[in-house]
Amino acid sequence: MAYKARLRGFDDILQNDIIDIKKLKELAFNGIPDDQGKRAICWRLLLNYLPPERASWTAFLAQKRELYNHFIDEMIIIPGSQCSEGDHPLSLNPDSMWQTFFKDNEVLLQIDKDVRRLCPDISFFQQPTDFPCSQIVNSMDAKRLHRRVEFSVLKSANVERKGLGITKIALSLKKANEDYAPMAEGEEAHWEVVERILFLYAKLNPGQSYVQGMNEILGPIYYAFASDPDPNYREYAEADSFFCFTNLMSEIRDFFIKSLDETDCGINSMMSRLLVQLKNSDLDIWLKFQQLELRPQYYSFRWLTLLLSQEFPLPDVLRIWDSLFSDENRFDFLIYICCAMIIILRNQLLSGDFPSCLKLLQNFPPMDIQIILNKAVELSKQKV
């Protein structure tokens, strides 16, 4: 289908009073156009955030976005700012705001390390957002999350005393150059926004908290929303991606939970499913992997947990996710894609030794993503 016709196809579906999600999935499965913010709106629908009834959108979005602001007010607090009797930094009271503050900072430290490592090959996340969160960026830095986990070192100086009573004090004022430099008052970079979303998610889901890799799940969603050409949507990229991320996590969170590794919904079972699929689709490679003792944990743990977001450049990840989110049975198609990736490397894998095979799988060679997706569709149709 020609690009313009495809675009029109999306318009036709999206303009209905009640959007036919099934039809939308059929269309989006083959890729959502990059233009006109189509992806952002479709993902909001596919991730069950926006309801199909268009008339309800305005009120629904207003309510959700207000709720999100409420989360910020409630969870990003500065202890000592409100008068609470008997509370102090050394308080052992479990209800102490200071206690919570210090505990939160441990989680925050991990998040902070990871958001600074998000999609380093593109500059997007280091750039300022057009819509900074005003109550944060105008707080004289007090509410900026990364400020809470910065290492502070007391200034030291070398003191040298020579004869004649002359004392030389050498203050060392070396400054580390920051790739992810903090912004001026009133501004913030996209990575700071991502940090806040992850922090709120961790606060609201204390049983799971933050696990490394969640940043890689949030990254593409936030990117799609924050680069929406429509400023009326772009302005709320933060709140909307928070809710879409939460919805997506509700479907894949089991991959991130260690205690569920061995259960049917855990990551090990996903890896077994991939292996079964490989055995059915290409016995030679399966046998070769057996012989080399090349286990699926070595390569597919990351593929599956992160929905392939670390294996391909961002534009390809967006395209893959169009299909994944349109999958009637999430995430069956993910298994087919992973299997297709292996089969496409068939010749190299069959002739390689353990290290060369693993290297290949852990650093998937650049190729047209459509080749992989076509192969995956082919595999999905072989199913009886």
Partner: protein
């Protein structure tokens, strides 16, 4: 294709808290380059480098692991096969140093008893942000009878040396073990904790 291009294969493992620079250390060693633009390691990653020691070509198969607790079930399964383990902390991060004890316990639980260990205090180029003195690093290593070095992946300090020394220690052990040798006769005296150079086999 199947022809062996090396004499010995050593499996090494890098462990330590998240963000201490494990991936950067490995990248410096394997590609002699440094970049701050690394994504966080999820699960396990791996690289190969061949070194020559005492006329032997030794292929190092080095596994790089994720630091966060969640990945421990995935990563501890690699401990068993490892012949050498690099335990990394960040000299600008006190917590990562305190956790060395935790990582050592992990090794005791999951690795082979005779695995060669080395503690690395990384980021030693960042003197102005130092939070852990070299002496403290040395003390903890001495206490456990493990080799110790401060490194910088960024400034390329001690990286090659660290890997070579670890590989050599493994070589020392393997050298005495010609086929037919009884491995279990080699006893490492665990009480001898003052020696930081470790191995004392087949005296």
């Amino acid at each position: 294709m199947a022809k062996k291009t090396y004499d010995l294969l050593f499996k090494l493992l890098l462990i330590g808290d998240s963000g201490v620079g494990k991936t950067c250390i490995l990248f410096r060693f394997s590609d002699d380059a440094f970049t701050t633009t690394f994504i966080s390691t999820i699960g396990i990653d791996f690289k190969i480098k061949t070194v020559e020691l005492r006329g032997k070509k030794i292929k190092l198969q080095i596994w790089d692991t994720a630091g966060q607790e969640r990945f421990h079930t995935i990563t501890t399964s690699y401990y068993r096969g490892a012949m050498g383990i690099m335990l990394v902390y960040d000299i600008t991060n006190e917590k990562s140093f305190e956790n060395i004890i935790k990582w050592l316990r992990n090794i005791d639980e999951h690795a082979n008893e005779d695995v060669e260990k080395m503690i690395l205090g990384n980021k030693c180029d960042m003197e102005d942000k130092r939070a852990v003195s070299k002496e403290r690093g040395e003390a903890v290593a001495r206490e456990h009878g493990i080799r110790f070095m401060e490194t910088s992946a960024k400034a390329s300090i001690n990286i090659d040396r660290a890997f070579n020394e670890l590989a050599e220690a493994i070589l020392d052990k393997t050298a005495g073990r010609e086929p037919g040798d009884h491995v279990d006769r080699v006893t490492v005296d665990r009480r001898q904790q003052s020696s930081t150079t470790g191995s004392c086999c087949n005296k």
